[in-house]
Amino acid sequence: MAEQQVKPSIDLGNLKAGGFIKERGKDLFTIRLRVPGGRMAVPRLKKIAEVAEKYGGEFVHLSVRQSIELININFKHFDAVVEELGEADQKVASCGARVRVPVACGGCEYNPNGLVDTQKSALEVDRQLFGTPTGHHKFKVAFAGCPFDCPKSATNDVGFQGALLPKLDKEACISCGLCAKSCTPGAITMGEERKPLLAIDPCIWCGDCVKVCPTGAWEAKQTGYNVRIGGKWGRNPLVGTLFATFLPQEQVVAFITRVLEWYREKAENQGRIRLGDIILKEGPEPLLERLRQSFPDSVVAETIPPQIINTQIGSGR
């Protein structure tokens, strides 16, 4: 076991949030770096390359959750690696039953599809909740800036998806029809006098109408996050379901905190169990009710349990 090899000269404080992962070879570890939202400042990237070359193997690994992992690090070099990475303010990530580093798409600063600042949200969650022990199992959060959802938000314990509620100023509309043509779900049709009509049901809140509108006649009435809870992948995948709509960006940390509280309580004495499996047992109503107390304007009236994905292998749940 790795613990028996660790000598007193190694700062065990560095290991408390995890991020040091035993490899196959004797004495060798992977060090998972903390890269919230996948944004990597170029000077930090240079420092990582320098440290990897000095202490690691021939390559680094780019993880699925946007981390850079240093490979083949001898445990004797833990302190040196942490210290040298620290010179560029690069920290080590988490593993185990903790809040993990949030994943995010590029956001809205340069990506034309982004509706909300997912990078800002990821940094905020990382700053305030990183490494928080759950007492039960891992806890993953992701931020997608729009309903195209490149980060696959609903496969996370809590997944945030940027959304925009459009409204039309008929006077400013020049009847060009570009909104109706751009509306992939077909929520906008050109009605009488060639003015667009929005049908609420098919709308997925992508904001394409606002983005294409030549005169600004379509504008955002509201933006925020649609929040899905209870997702996971792995052996028995679940897709999270909708618990809140248009959650204001500044309420993200508080929202996750409430979910974590409920998870800690309900999973008591149930061992290593993910949030989605707790919701399957309890039904979605108790969590909805808990969240409604703090976020009455955003929490939906009703929802469905996490959706079980049939992997067709193993007899399953």
Partner: protein
């Protein structure tokens, strides 16, 4: 007003061709772009708007293509 035929040209080449054509014009000049239905008509107008040009009209042609009228924006 010149018309650029961008039918059969895929994204983002159609947008880049439109951009090059607009570079030849002065601010306030107009250009017509003939676009395919689907991705082209969804993406090209939005990208031109993002570049600061003014979208004036969109007409569907008898053959099911789209004619976009655009006015070159300030540099």
């Amino acid at each position: 007003m010149a018309t650029i035929d961008l039918r059969g040209v895929s994204c983002p080449t159609n947008f880049v061709k439109a951009k090059l054509a607009l570079e030849e014009l002065e601010p306030g000049d107009r250009l017509e772009l003939l676009l395919d239905d689907g991705e082209a008509v969804k993406n090209v107008p939005r990208s031109l708007k993002g570049d600061g040009h003014k979208l004036l009209a969109l007409q569907e042609t008898a053959e099911g293509h789209y004619l976009l009228t655009v006015e070159k924006g300030e540099e």
